[in-house]
């Protein structure tokens, strides 16, 4: 496995399955009497968040703490970043503090790549979302969730039919998912109005459809993406109501899904826009479980990138 996790494309099939398998094992351990493992004791993990994201930050923080790492939270608000400090200066400061891993969330696509390539930071860089580029740990937790429900928590996702619906153009979740799911052998279909499908998508390893109702019956995992209502101001769609009619998941569409299909959402949800309350809270929904799985998967990422003590050692 590479030293950094910047893109889902950094992962081979073996890497991806190893992360998912490790997450399963770690989940079993922390579900038992030992809530906290000593494996990263003495290591420092920095959450470098230039963009608000309570849920991702807390998830990484919980993961690091359950592995006994020291966690430093560095958020843009109330820090020198808002005074115009450059990415470089912040990185050099963190390096001086001796960070073993930097988890970075940034509004600029490529910020994590630049940190990793710059030589400003010696530790591992984990991309926790960069602009409209990627969010690989989200894709891993999504794959983990699908594997638990559809493949008994084992192996790859060969043949699993995944449908991703919504604002693909602006979605880092969609980009990472398409890449990782292709690596894991799933069949991915993106569904959105043509205005929200990126130019150049023909070369992505997935199918494209503009018709959600056609794709629903052939779906094992349905992933709804957040859609910002403001998009209608740039003519991506005429109105939120028209969007909901065409691409929102309502109770009727849930009923069109096959009996084993699951409903997913990376959060935060716009209830009533891309997903109805009934669909979000219904029996098919695994949305809350995704959040819990996020911690296990991020523990596995930190564990494997930082090369902590072996699981056997820890559990004995």
């Amino acid at each position: 496995m590479k030293r950094h996790l910047l893109s889902a494309s950094d992962l081979t099939l073996e890497d991806a399955v190893l992360i998912l398998d490790t997450a399963e094992e770690l989940a079993k351990l922390v579900d038992g009497p030992v809530k906290k493992l000593p494996t990263l004791r003495g290591r420092t993990v920095v959450n470098l968040f230039y963009e608000d994201s309570t849920r991702t930050r807390i998830s990484f923080e919980a993961a690091a703490k359950r592995l006994s790492a020291d966690v430093i939270n560095f958020t843009a608000k109330g820090s020198s970043v808002s005074k115009g400090e450059s990415l470089k200066d912040t990185a050099l400061t963190l390096q001086a503090m001796g960070a073993d891993a930097v988890i970075v969330r940034h509004s600029a696509s490529g910020a994590a790549h630049q940190l990793a390539a710059s030589g400003w930071i010696a530790g591992s860089v984990i991309n926790a979302g960069d602009g409209t580029h990627e969010h690989p740990s989200q894709a891993l937790l999504d794959a983990y969730t699908m594997r638990r429900h559809l493949r008994d928590g084992k192996g790859d996702l060969a043949g699993v039919r995944v449908t991703i619906v919504g604002d693909v153009l602006h979605s880092r979740v969609a980009r990472s998912n398409v890449l990782l799911l292709a690596t894991l052998g799933a069949d991915v279909t993106l569904v959105a109005p043509p205005t929200l499908i990126p130019y150049g998508v023909e070369q992505w390893p997935c199918q494209i459809s503009y018709d959600l109702d056609k794709v629903l019956p052939r779906t094992d995992a349905l992933m709804m993406l957040r859609v910002q209502g403001e998009r209608m101001n740039n003519a991506f769609f005429p109105s939120t109501r028209e969007y909901s009619r065409g691409y929102g998941l309502d109770d009727k569409r849930v009923a069109a899904l096959s009996s084993k299909a699951i409903v997913m959402h990376p959060g935060p949800m716009n209830r009533g826009l891309e997903i109805s309350a009934g669909a979000a809270d219904g029996l098919r929904s695994v949305i809350v479980e995704q959040v819990a799985n996020g911690v296990s998967v991020r523990m596995a990422i930190l564990y494997l990138l930082l090369g902590g003590a072996s699981i056997e050692e820890v559990s004995s």
């Binding site: 450059s86 940034h106 696509s109 490529g110 580029h133 980009r175 990126p198 130019y199």
Partner: protein, 430 residues
């Protein structure tokens, strides 16, 4: 000793001759060895002589951003690149939209003395695209401006573009358009295509360039004016210019060295050195641009030398400035992309980098052949071998070159401006 004897130089890459430069002009060209006295003799075995190069598109940043470049440093870089004349773009601070500013830049160029600095005048006041600048005042100033451009910004308003095209006919001026439809490129970061779709960077679509060029060639035809298109970057743009020329429209076009060699794949590094406007395009575009330059559809290679301080490039891609320096790599890039590929001869390179750009800029003293009685503007280059491009000899105040470490052919040995050596042995000759 004032003159120079270029002994055994390959004129335009062809026959070996002796060339005598004296009194600011080419005084003799001979197939037989010359033996003049009282001149410096340069052994030119293996070297190629071309007419001194003319750049239609240079950002010298003075006045306003002297931390990134000055007229002095930029024109020295130009001399090292084999240029004897450069056109200094108008997007300085203050903008070169009055006779006062263009005369200042012109004077700074003369004082530096590394090459002729010809200011480009802004088309609109402050580059705001709303009101015509005093074009005639700039044309009739000491700087004798003939090229007008809002480069960096597009003259997007069609009526303003029409008026500008018409107005400059009175003094044989030309409007050099930065073709970029502004609404289609809001916050655009790189070429719109497969790579941008993967990188999550806002796309700069080819149609934003091609739609403006299409409109402008039709406007130029309608009013019978001269149009020059800056930095063509797409295959479609080449097609449109080819079509317009076939209809007899008075349009000329330029391409940058970087668009002849680099593609948007480089953006995958997120290294802002590869961020430029117009953006690096696809391989198909590079091939079409080379073809267009070779067949003469594209008239000129122009550097779009765009210096930026380190902090404007050592940051997130989306925050970084657009642009690359290119004066000192231009000839090597053209040799690598056009000569070594067999697409062009040195004679054609001389046409696209000297003759035609001089004609477009109405520089009567430049772009002349190396022949007896002509002004002695000459570049000597050693085309043999390739080596990694470095900034060892960089005269620019900025370092934002995309070519660092790339294997490029050839190197400039000497540059003569009116018979005076500005560069000898690849170094500035003070």
């Amino acid at each position: 000793m004032s003159g120079y004897l270029l002994r055994g130089v390959s004129l335009l890459g062809e026959a070996q001759v002796d060339v005598l430069i004296d009194g600011g002009i080419i005084s003799e060209v001979s197939k037989k060895p010359l033996a003049p006295t009282g001149v410096h003799t340069i052994d030119c075995d293996g070297l190629v002589a071309l007419p001194g190069l003319v750049d239609l598109h240079t950002h010298l940043r003075e006045p306003g951003r002297e931390d990134s470049e000055t007229v002095e440093s930029g024109s020295a870089a130009a001399a090292l690149g084999g240029f004897v004349a450069v056109h200094a773009m108008a997007n300085t601070n203050p903008v070169a939209d009055t006779a006062g500013v263009v005369e200042q830049v012109y004077r700074l160029g003369r004082e530096a003395g590394w090459c002729d600095v010809r200011p480009v005048g802004a088309v609109t006041v402050g580059l705001h695209g709303t009101q015509l600048a005093e074009l005639a005042a700039m044309a009739h100033s000491a700087a004798r401006v003939r090229i007008f451009s809002d480069d960096g910004k597009c003259v997007a308003d069609p009526i303003l573009m029409r008026r500008a095209l018409e107005y400059v006919k009175a003094f044989d001026g030309v409007i050099a358009q930065h073709a970029q439809e502004p609404r289609l490129t809001e916050d655009a970061q790189m070429n719109e295509g497969f790579v941008s779709s993967q990188l999550g960077l806002r796309g700069w679509p080819a149609v934003a360039e091609e739609s403006i060029i299409s409109r402008d060639v039709l406007l130029a035809e309608h009013v019978g004016s001269r149009l020059h298109v800056c930095h063509l970057s797409t295959a479609g743009s080449v097609e449109i210019v080819r079509w317009a020329k076939s209809r007899g429209v008075m349009v000329t076009a330029e391409v940058t060295p970087h668009h002849l060699l680099l593609t948007d794949e480089l953006a995958r590094s997120y290294d802002p050195r590869y961020k430029v406007n117009p953006p690096l395009r696809r391989d198909e575009d590079v091939m079409a641009l080379r073809q267009g330059l070779a067949d003469g559809t594209i008239d000129a290679v122009a550097t779009d030398h765009a210096p930026h301080p380190v902090e404007d490039k050592e940051c997130e891609w989306s925050s970084a400035a657009f642009g690359m320096i290119g004066l000192q790599s231009a000839l090597s890039v053209v040799q690598t992309a056009m000569i070594e590929t067999g697409l062009m001869t040195w004679s054609e390179v001389s046409d696209r980098m000297s003759t035609r750009p001089a004609r477009i800029g109405s520089l009567r003293d430049h772009g002349r052949p190396i022949a007896v009685g002509e002004p002695a503007h000459v570049v000597l280059l050693d085309p043999r071998g390739k080596s990694p491009f470095t900034l060892e000899n960089n005269a620019s105040l900025s370092t934002n070159s995309p070519f660092i470490g790339m294997e490029l052919y050839g190197r400039v040995e000497a540059t003569f401006l009116r018979g005076r050596a500005t560069v000898l042995d690849g170094k500035l000759a003070g």
